[in-house]
């Protein structure tokens, strides 16, 4: 057991533990904070796997931008602390059964597959070389994805614009 494998198992424990804490919390702000821990763990995992550029991007985009966006939305909306309960037992028991079967089959598949027993070797993808590779081999995809981000920006702006008269807003108000 090398130092690298110890680090991997610690990181795996950290990621799974903080994600499990996140998906069970009631308070949405706690959820977001736990998920930031989880994404930091993933960033360190990327670094361990020899992708320093992606580790930096994970911290900037996921832990930075996306989670802060969620935090803003959670803070700005006045959400009622609703009492969400789990589904009735006869509803979620079959789902839990299928989930456990899925886990068992998946793990069996992973263990039985000979390719999964290959030990990973340490490597290092230099950020400069990685950028060169991206812009040589995938330049068209980069352009398409940048257009997608532009479209998402415009869509978010259009959706977020407060319209003067919302025709459907009166219907739910009357019911309450």
């Amino acid at each position: 057991m090398t130092t690298y494998s110890i680090i991997f198992y610690l990181l795996a424990l950290l990621i799974l533990g903080s994600t499990a804490m996140a998906i069970t919390r009631r308070n949405l702000i706690h959820v977001v904070i736990y998920l930031i821990f989880s994404f930091f763990g993933s960033a360190m995992l990327f670094y361990l796997f020899g992708a320093p550029f992606l580790a930096v991007l994970e911290v900037i985009i996921y832990a930075g931008a996306i989670m802060v966006l969620f935090l803003f939305i959670v803070i700005m909306m006045k959400l009622k602390p609703d009492k969400e309960r789990l589904f009735p037992l006869n509803q979620w028991l079959p789902a839990a059964f299928f989930g456990v079967v899925y886990i068992a089959i998946g793990m069996g598949l992973v263990i039985a597959e000979p390719g999964s027993r290959i030990t990973l070797k340490t490597a290092w993808a230099d950020p400069g070389l990685f950028g060169q590779y991206i812009f040589e081999k995938h330049w068209l995809s980069i352009e398409i994805v940048s257009l997608l981000l532009l479209v998402a920006l415009i869509g978010a702006l259009l959706l977020g614009r407060r319209s003067k008269k919302v025709p459907t807003a009166s219907a739910p108000e009357g019911e309450k």
């Binding site: 799974l16 796997f49 992708a51 009622k80 992973v110 479209v151």
Partner: protein, 100 residues
């Protein structure tokens, strides 16, 4: 030498399952979107791991696009949630029954 590739697969599979549970069980649109984020992150982990296994840069370049798609998805998704919140005053999917 780090670990067998199977352990990376199991880690990413468990993370993906957690995201799916979060998406299905929690009754809040924000938690549903967070579940999608967790699942995308699990996919990114598996792609970086396989990129290390085959010593190729393809996996890492796909992860770059996964990040871009996650950013686009979360911006449009949150704008939609804010829009729906203005219409119905709640983020509970059960309250989104304007067509009834």
């Amino acid at each position: 030498m780090i670990v067998p590739f199977g352990h990376v697969l199991i880690l990413a599979g468990l993370l993906f399952l957690m995201g799916m549970v979060c998406m299905i069980v929690r009754r809040s649109l924000i938690m549903i979107l967070l579940g999608v984020e967790i699942m995308l992150n699990a996919a990114a982990i598996i792609l970086v791991g396989s990129s290390l296994l085959w010593q190729q840069l393809e996996g890492q370049s796909i992860v770059l696009f996964v990040f871009a798609i996650a950013g686009a998805e979360v911006s449009v998704g949150l704008a939609l949630i804010v829009w729906g919140y203005r219409q119905t005053g709640s983020v509970d999917p059960r309250d989104y029954n304007l067509l009834k």
